[in-house]
Symmetry: C2
Subunit: 498 residues, 2 copies
């Protein structure tokens, strides 16, 4: 904190410092945990109304060249530390949104700083390779000590990508090529003249009318293939041409799950049956099913491990690939490194996609037959970015050093218990609390959601929503019990203002 204020003093006249409002004076190290970031503030600080004057001026300037209508706040990353995000007006907020769930180990993490300053990083920044043609001499090592060290059980290979959307779309491409290869009779069968000709006209059979199945309320990205599987909100999809692909119903469960076990199981059974029916009957044959372990953008919708095991069985039985989209759930936030680790699958997913907290992207796979039968079928110039792969390696090292996955499981339990207490006290404002046993991947519904999220900054917290009515918590993996205490107090303060 001292460091934080030393640097911010350069920008603010000393006289204004007295106006800074420290929001919580109670000792927040109750749980006696050693802070991961010794220099972190002990509480949020509010210096101005938000957005403050500097933010407003900067937003106006930026708007001239860059659409700012989805702007949340301009951020001073040089003054952000650990779980705290700083704006341009001296406000410092506890951040439980974390760049839409994409910051894993805290702002200005010292270990990542070392990675960023390393000679390997400099080389990869200034000599960006076309990875499919000219990978660096140490690319296998970077993968094996980084991205693949974290590979889900049963998957030992990776295709690297840039972000969640193209990670999913390249996985879809692999699925389509695999499907057609099987139809054709194997990798040795040559393409027909008709295929070669029709694909140049975007017509079947060369460009076949196959499909990827996703679930209602799912979010898998915003490019043309991924958007065709995204079913979150109209505003994500309107006016964009889409493929005629099927959507299965996602279970609409009742919370708390343990109190509605039987009817939830029935609902999941209904969805599984409908899923299998669609796979068998959809007019554009289904090459793969993609699913999020917890539907995130769609409103934090959960399903049980039994549902996902059922889905794995259905895909196996129908010769359809099973893709798990761990873009938002992956890398520790649910109390397991991968959220699908909660499911105890008998056979692993065919592909698992990742991005966000990995700070790089791609899909894992295990079956060598998922490599297309010829080179240059799954290819692009950059195929990812080694600079970002080095950052992921640093993140994995930091997660291991601090045991952050188990830590997040425990902190999540502590936070969830606190929210359960609040839910009893304010049942109208905290409905359908969910994410028990899922680390800090917690959400609830509230009738005045947009107002709730907007008021959060006024009590020193940066918080996000999902779906129509959910408040979603997406703290970093370095979120600790004393941060949970602040968050719980803040939630109560907001509720009292509604």
């Amino acid at each position: 904190m001292a460091a934080l204020f030393r640097s911010s003093m350069k920008l603010r006249p000393a006289t204004r410092l007295s106006a800074v409002r420290t929001l919580t004076t109670t000792p927040h190290l109750r749980a006696a945990e050693k802070p991961f970031f010794p220099d972190e503030p002990t509480a949020p600080k509010l210096a101005t109304a938000i957005p403050g004057p500097k933010n407003k001026a900067a937003a106006e300037k930026l708007d001239k060249v860059f659409d700012v209508r989805s702007l949340n706040m301009l951020t001073d990353y040089t003054k952000s530390t650990g779980n705290y995000i700083a704006d341009l007006d001296g406000n410092v907020l506890l951040d439980v949104y974390a760049q839409i769930a994409s910051i894993p180990v805290g702002y200005n993490n010292p270990h990542l700083r070392k990675v960023a300053e390393s000679p390997e990083m400099i080389t990869s920044l200034i000599n960006r390779p076309a990875l499919g043609n000219f990978p660096s001499h140490d690319w296998a090592d970077i993968l094996n000590t980084g991205i693949l060290k974290a590979a889900p059980k049963g998957l030992n290979q990776v295709f690297t990508a840039m972000a969640g959307s193209d990670a999913n779309e390249t996985a879809y491409k692999a699925a389509f090529m695999y499907y057609r290869q099987r139809e054709r009779g194997g990798p040795e069968t040559e393409f027909t003249e008709e295929e070669l000709e029709t694909t140049m006209k975007n017509q079947s059979p060369g460009s076949p009318q196959l499909s990827i199945m996703s679930f209602k309320s799912a979010f898998h990205g915003r490019l043309f293939g991924s958007l065709s599987t995204t079913r979150s909100k109209p505003i994500h999809k309107l006016d964009i041409p889409a493929f005629d692909w099927p959507q299965a119903p996602f279970p609409a469960l009742k919370y708390p799950l343990e109190e509605h076990a039987q009817e939830n199981a029935q609902e999941e059974q209904r969805c599984l049956q409908e899923t299998e029916r669609l796979i068998k009957e959809w007019h554009n044959p289904v090459a793969a099913v993609i699913v999020e372990p917890i539907q995130s953008e769609g409103g934090d919708n959960h399903a049980s491990p039994a549902f996902f095991r059922g889905l794995r069985e259905i895909t196996k039985r129908n010769n359809v690939l099973f893709i798990v989209d761990e873009v938002q759930t992956g890398v520790g936030a649910t109390g397991k490194f991968w959220a699908h680790d909660h499911w105890n699958l008998e056979t692993p997913p065919d592909m698992v996609t990742f991005s966000k907290k990995a700070q790089t992207a791609g899909y894992y796979y295990g079956n060598p037959a998922l490599r297309p039968n010829k080179p240059y079928r799954q290819f692009n110039t950059w195929m990812g970015d080694p600079a970002r792969a080095l950052i992921f390696r640093g993140i994995i090292e930091e997660i291991e050093r601090l045991n952050l996955v188990e830590h997040t499981a425990a902190t999540g339990d502590y936070l969830f218990a606190g929210l359960e207490r609040l839910a009893k006290q304010y049942p109208e404002h905290l409905q359908n609390l969910r994410g028990k046993g899922q680390g800090t991947f917690i959400a609830w519904d509230t009738p005045k959601r947009d107002e709730f999220v907007a008021k959060a900054k006024g009590v020193g917290v940066n918080i996000g929503g999902s779906g129509v009515s959910a408040v979603r918590l997406r703290p970093m993996l370095v979120f600790q019990k004393h941060h949970a205490d602040i968050l719980l107090e803040s939630v109560e303060k907001i509720i009292k203002q509604l």
Copy 2:
């Protein structure tokens, strides 16, 4: 060069140094140009057959986790300098392929090294923002002094992206939203209930059956929307579902252009007429036309400025947006910063997409109406990468400092004249030489193209092909006349081996 060898000596026993073959002993500074990279080798060096034993061993290791069937060579970037690329066996090649045309200012460029070591870079690497929500306080400055400083004439805004494919696809999305907005009667008209409902089912009118028109042999990327506009080769498209979008004929010109002016003009006229007919008649209405200034992956196919001016007129007349894909042609290689600067358009393109030599990606636009009418319609978590935007700023600075666009125009003329001499001498091996007055963006056809490209490494040059029969030159902007001399000698050596 001294530095290069100092470091490589650590890896190679001294006794092997004597085996290194310096390929050219003639003085290559004929043109008396001062080298941009004082430490660059004066000629390629061959230490082993390529691939050498270390490359083979490393490729085998990498193949276990990463598909290497499109591998060209494993690269030691720490030993690569300027125009020279080094492999793991001590071979150092003159690189006129440059990571598929994506390295602009040389390997290990000292100015980019400074950028990579800067505090701004470190911050942007370890605090990656969700740019649409939480841009950094200096994001407007980074854009204005970087990406936008290089903006094409008439375009003053940018949507940032990750790579060429998503740059094009987000431009397509902007075009579709713009088209439907105009149909609807403007940005204030609300979506209908029917649109909101149908888009969730991927059906029209919410997900409309509109199209993007591209040209035969075009390459615009490999994700689902961009691949639907890519018409380069079957292997790029097979087995992947595609949209029912139209392709216009691209002029099949005869080279040298100046000797076939009249028939080429007729061919271009024919293509323009067919383009307009397709726009008027295609069953899925055309929202935009996308075109490359020089079709690159498709075989280095050129058209005249008059053709592109005609295309601009047709798109204007038919209320269709005009997107220029400068992913491969942009950032100086054609002797102008943007290749479409050669056209003298009366009105600028509606959008210009960029990637590759920019080391970051996105689309430029000028018309504010191309911003969708509501926030979160054109959005994703990262929306690019500020770390790579900083690199592009460094590249622009280096281009300005060394006047590399004019330099490339002059070097290109010098190189082209040399190739014309060779074409006269070896007409069978250098057919349809093209790219005159287009900087170093030069290509020719040769009947034994694959053999030509494969043999290039044996004479110390890394060179690529495009299309079915073209050798394409894609040197960096720091390619100088003495490199051209080496390249010309090498081309002749290869021809003599065929």
